[in-house]
Amino acid sequence: MTTSHVLLMALFALFVSLVFAMLLRDEPREQLKTGGMMFAGFVVAAYVLGWLMFPFPL
């Protein structure tokens, strides 16, 4: 099965941030804000960690 790793990571981040935003906030506006921040945090952190690990061989 050919799947994009970046797409799967983004999909995973989307689901997790959606559920956490719904759990942590009650107002739709707050849920959107928290979910968006969390999703962006997941994606940015994945990219930063990816680049930090780049020089190290497995």
């Binding site: 099965m1 050919t2 799947t3 790793h5 799967l8 999909l11 995973f12 689901f15 997790v16 959606l18 559920v19 719904m22 759990l23 739709p28």
Partner: protein, 136 residues
Amino acid sequence: MGTKSTTAERPRAAAELGRLTLVCVLAWLIPGAGHLLQGRRGKGLVFLVALPLMFAIGLWLQGRLFPLELSDPLVFLGAIANRGIGAPYFIARLLDVGAGTVTDASYEYGNTFLMTAGLLNLLVMLDAFDVAQGRK
């Protein structure tokens, strides 16, 4: 007087315990059902769609539904996480899916989706319990 109030409160406490148990069991079995039962329609519907979908994506990515093997602690913990999703797990077992293809590039992604969906559903169940107790 003290004895009287204790006797009167006993059935109420039992009914409350029964209601809490029902909310928790339903919340575990059907993702979002605990919230729907308590009138939190928006949250319940999101959980009802998102969590089984995440579980289904895990299966599509060739993830594995782990057996309850006490001899291997990591497999055992993975099995607990898998079962956290409730009914979708049992449906998957009935349909004989979730064998997992270790050689597939997406195998680990699949496992991550499957286990995270289960763990998130356990969190959702705890949230439903808090709502039932009037904490939220």
